[in-house]
């Protein structure tokens, strides 16, 4: 959709999930410094430089996650490489991987590349896109090997609760499954009081000491031999182009994944490792600044969506920078006839010149929805809604 949108002049895009910010200055300076000192021309060790991994381990400790930087952390070329390398390491052809429905679009191809079979587990939209553990267990077969998910979830911008995660961990132990937890949006959690009143995730998904820190299964020591924690610098530090992320897991599993990682990329880009190290050491204020912007934009987009209440209904996002409104049946029939969310998004693109992502791209439960990204500027959000209001003749 983004590609199609780029060919039409004057389109306002709420499609691509890329933040509108540039990489923080301190990060860029560290990269330049590393280049000038001649530190980036050679391969690093396959799992990454020792200094970078040590910094990661120290950073994780602050979040109550404990990993040995020498044997349990691998710097990767983006989180998708971490995911693909892990799947290639753990799957046999035909093994099934459960993924939430809707979820991030690239999970399906990654599973297929590893000769696996993606199996969707529908989320309960009416319960703030909650994970239905009963449905989940019913879909487990002897071929099920892993559950792959992102928390906070893309495209819904919602969080899986601590109780759901614990139930998931119990199932993983019972059925001997791996869990791949992709937490790329973990730094963009909005305060409980500003969330929709009564939203279940607003009450139970956070750690006790702070309502703005996401609870992660990586804090649960009992499953560290089956959990792969994945974090990317792309979103939190506005570094999508640097292709840098890391994974952390038990050393036995890390050894298997490292063999695949070494085959795929030898090592993550060394310049990006230096940049990401600086990001962890020096750019926490920038992350807070980004979060504040996103929170304002979240409030703005919700306000604008409220004005379009006869077109959309939605679960207010309490994290990330996506909202995933359902298109009301009557409007969908009028605008897209029988074409569903793809046709609706195309009509919106061609007639209103607003780019959004059709919900069906994220799984069958995403049908009749569209994903809007509020990582874009306030001007873009306002302009897109002016156009939509005109298009829907509000």
């Amino acid at each position: 959709m983004e590609l199609r949108a780029s060919r039409i002049p004057g389109v306002v895009s709420l499609a691509q999930g890329v933040p509108s910010f540039d990489t923080p200055e301190a990060v860029k300076r560290a990269a330049i410094d590393a280049i000038e000192k001649g530190k980036v021309a050679k391969y690093s060790l396959a799992p990454g430089t020792l200094e970078f991994r040590e910094t990661i381990a120290q950073y994780l400790e602050k979040e109550n996650k404990f990993y040995d930087f020498e044997t349990e952390i691998i710097a990767t070329a983006g989180s998708i490489e971490a995911i693909t390398a892990t799947l290639l390491a753990i799957l046999e052809p035909g093994d099934e991987v459960l993924i939430p429905d809707p979820t991030y679009t690239s999970y399906q191809p990654a599973i297929k590349v590893a000769r696996g079979v993606p199996v969707f587990v529908p989320l309960a939209e009416e319960k703030h896109w909650a994970l239905d553990i009963e449905k989940f267990e019913k879909l487990i077969t002897p071929r099920t090997k892993a559950f792959l998910f992102c928390n906070p979830n893309n495209p819904t911008g919602t969080i899986f609760t601590r109780n759901q995660l614990h139930a998931l961990a119990q199932l993983a132990i019972k059925h001997n499954l791996y869990i791949l937890s992709d937490e790329v949006y973990k730094d963009f959690i909005y305060p409980v009081k500003s969330c929709e009143a009564g939203a279940p995730s607003a009450q139970f998904n956070r750690v006790n000491d702070s309502n703005e820190r996401l609870y992660s299964l990586a804090e649960l020591r009992g499953i560290r031999d089956r959990l792969i924690y994945i974090f990317s610098f792309s979103k939190a530090y506005a570094m999508t182009g640097w292709r840098i992320a890391f994974l952390a897991t038990h050393q036995d599993l890390a050894k298997k994944i490292l063999a695949v990682h070494d085959t795929l990329v030898t090592c993550a880009p060394v310049v990006s490792q230096f940049a990401a190290q600086a990001a962890l050491e020096m750019a926490q204020e920038d992350v807070k600044k980004f979060k504040d912007y996103f929170q304002k934009r979240r409030n703005l987009i919700c306000k604008r969506l409220d004005k379009l209440e006869n077109v959309f209904e939605y679960q207010k996002p309490d994290s990330a920078y996506f909202v995933f409104p359902r298109i009301k049946d009557e409007i969908l029939r009028r605008v897209a006839k029988n074409g569903g969310s793809w046709q609706f998004a195309l009509e919106l693109l061609e007639k209103a010149k607003v780019a959004v992502v059709p919900g069906a791209a994220f799984g069958p439960s995403g049908e009749n929805h569209i994903r809007m990204c509020f990582g874009r500027s306030e001007e873009d959000i306002n302009e897109a809604f002016e156009r939509m209001e005109k298009f829907f003749r509000i």
Partner: protein, 253 residues
């Protein structure tokens, strides 16, 4: 662009010169006991364990370490003077220099013990840092490389560690990780008392019977004829090295 870079370099030199001067004055006035932690990695964890143990023994205010791993030519003086970095703001750096001068000349209370990471990358870095601080005790954690083919850079770091070993006074202590051959060989270059630590049989302070479970690591610590069972909640051998080095420091001081 070039002019801007040249300006930055000049500013850095000015800041560096003054910070070094004020640091020397501060240390000359208060004469704290300095424990230096050097090596390729594991400096911060080692320093943190030493701080924890020494604070248990001497109290919170009597022991200070580098905040945020400030350990280079600019970072180390900031750590000693207990100031934050000015990042890229010229105004903030000016403010910091004024504060540094005030602290150097008028500060009355100062910790009795400093635990300082020394970060070195290039030839001459250690010499520069040791012009400012004179440790009586030093720990060398390891000499390891981050690159696939990097023996020459390891030798460079080894030379810097050798400089540190040579500079320690005879009444001082040098703690060496005995599982790292390069580090172990530093013993031959120092007049200070040597204490080795590691998993090796011949280490003065030794860890043995290491086991890992969901709650962390358990091992037996053998030192000065005593054996005690230790549990730490962190994973990885580096944390055990750091713990052992800190325990030895606590025992000596």
């Amino acid at each position: 662009m070039l002019e801007k870079n040249a300006m930055k370099k000049i500013l850095k030199k000015i800041v560096q010169f003054h910070l070094k001067l004020f640091t020397k004055i501060t240390l000359w006035r208060h004469r704290p006991f300095i424990v230096a932690v050097a090596g390729s990695t594991n400096k911060t964890t080692t320093k943190d364990y030493i701080l924890k143990f020494l604070r248990e023994k001497y109290g919170e205010k009597e022991v200070r370490g580098n905040p945020k791993s400030y350990n280079t030519e600019i970072g180390l003086p900031l750590a000693i003077l207990y100031l934050d970095s000015g990042e890229s703001s010229m105004l903030r750096w000016l403010k910091i220099l004024v504060q540094a001068k005030m602290r150097a000349l008028f500060l009355r209370k100062f910790p009795k013990k400093l635990v300082l990471e020394l970060g070195v990358e290039e030839k001459g870095d250690m010499e520069y840092l040791l012009e400012m601080v004179h440790p009586e005790m030093a720990i060398v954690t390891n000499i390891e490389g981050s690159y696939t083919y990097s023996n020459s850079s390891l030798e460079k770091i080894f030379e810097e560690m050798k400089f540190l070993a040579k500079e320690l006074p005879a009444k001082g202590y040098l703690l060496l990780n005995s599982d790292d051959e390069r580090v172990k060989s530093l013993a031959g270059f120092s007049k200070a008392k040597i204490v080795t630590y590691g998993f090796a049989e011949d280490a003065d302070a030794r860890a043995e019977d290491l086991k890992t479970d969901a709650q962390g690591q358990i091992f037996n610590f053998v030192f000065q004829g005593k054996k005690e069972s230790i549990r730490i909640k962190k994973y990885g051998r580096t944390n055990i090295y750091a713990w052992m080095a800190a325990k030895v420091v606590k025992n000596i001081l």
